[in-house]
């Protein structure tokens, strides 16, 4: 699953997802990527979030909505990402989830549980994308 966040030069924020979902799913199943606040969320006044993982669990927690709202209430991106992941892990200890959260001023951080998660980023005058490895909580 791709979940992507973009902030343009004017500070406008958008987010999106695209995926072919989980393999061997029951026909008709929709994953979290299509659910606002689960696979992605963005508010230009605050920041944005992208997510990947066990979508059937993640859509029950709207982790990206949670993370953005946590930033609105003052949390730093890293803390907001970890809080959203921890809420899922508390109820589903085996869940695999990865979140990347970006504040409106461009600070980004990730959190994961159940696996080692990676995210890529490119900003300003960077010539190529850089990769951040996020260890599981």
């Amino acid at each position: 699953t791709l979940s992507l966040i973009a902030i343009d030069a004017r500070g406008n924020i958008a987010a999106g997802t695209t995926t072919n979902g989980a393999a061997h799913k029951i026909p008709g199943r929709a994953g979290d990527a299509a659910i606002p606040g689960s696979g992605a969320y963005a508010d230009s006044d605050v920041g944005a979030c992208g997510a990947t993982g066990d979508g059937d669990i993640m859509m029950r927690f709207l982790p990206c909505y949670q993370a953005v709202e946590s930033m609105r209430r003052g949390m730093a991106p890293r803390d907001a990402a970890r809080d959203a992941v921890a809420r899922m892990a508390a109820r589903y200890p085996g869940v695999r989830a990865g979140l990347v959260v970006v504040s409106r001023d461009g600070v980004h951080a990730g959190a994961a549980c159940g696996w080692e998660f990676q995210y890529a980023w490119r900003g300003g005058g960077m010539e190529r994308a850089e990769v951040v490895v996020v260890e599981a909580l």
């Binding site: 030069a9 999106g16 979902g21 393999a23 799913k25 230009s44 890529a120």
Partner: protein
């Protein structure tokens, strides 16, 4: 130095094609070869939503690690279906599709839902019909890889699927070990 424009996305490796496509769209160096005059979502003055669309579209075309775009993650019936979403953080407007059948450009359909409807989410065959009415082509989303994966899954004695309370039991440890755990 300013951190903007800025693109951040899940995963690395093949997924950086999306990072680069979105970043270059914002930087005004779109690699799109389409005629801007015929492109309803021209990147000539790319905004954040243009960049997200460009990044998602690039990943779909590249079939990033097999989990994005056509030809991956077959369902029980061996069909590949797609989910996509775009959200504009200025307006909190959302366009999304789920269980999209036979149309490869899922992010583009989501863009149409975002900008050309008052809805947020279209699903299944009716999302396909909407996409076709907007000029997108219907095609078979299977690939040799997805057909092989589905055949192998069906050939196993235990089906590591998403059903619960049925036989074979997908939670049986032997079944769980027979195939990697699928995820979004």
């Amino acid at each position: 130095p300013s951190p903007f424009p800025l693109v951040v996305n899940t995963w690395a490796g093949p997924f950086t094609v999306a990072t680069d496509a979105a970043f270059l769209a914002l930087a005004g160096n779109s690699s799109s070869s389409s005629d801007p005059s015929s492109d309803p979502f021209s990147l000539s003055a790319a905004t954040a939503i243009d960049a997200v669309h460009a990044g998602c579209t690039a990943c779909e075309a590249a079939r990033c690690d097999g989990t994005v775009g056509p030809g991956g993650s077959p369902d029980e019936a061996c069909e590949t279906t797609l989910d996509a979403l775009l959200i504009d953080g200025r307006t909190l407007n959302v366009g999304a599709v789920a269980g999209l059948r036979r149309v490869a450009a899922a992010a583009t359909v989501a863009r149409h839902v975002l900008e050309l409807t008052g809805h947020s989410l279209l699903v299944g065959d009716q999302a396909t019909a909407y996409a076709v009415r907007h000029g997108l082509a219907e095609e078979n989303l299977s690939s040799a890889e997805s057909r092989a994966a589905c055949d192998a899954w069906r050939a196993r004695g235990c089906l590591p699927n998403f059903r619960a309370g049925v036989v074979p039991d997908p939670d049986d440890p032997e079944c769980a070990a027979a195939a990697p755990r699928a995820h979004d």
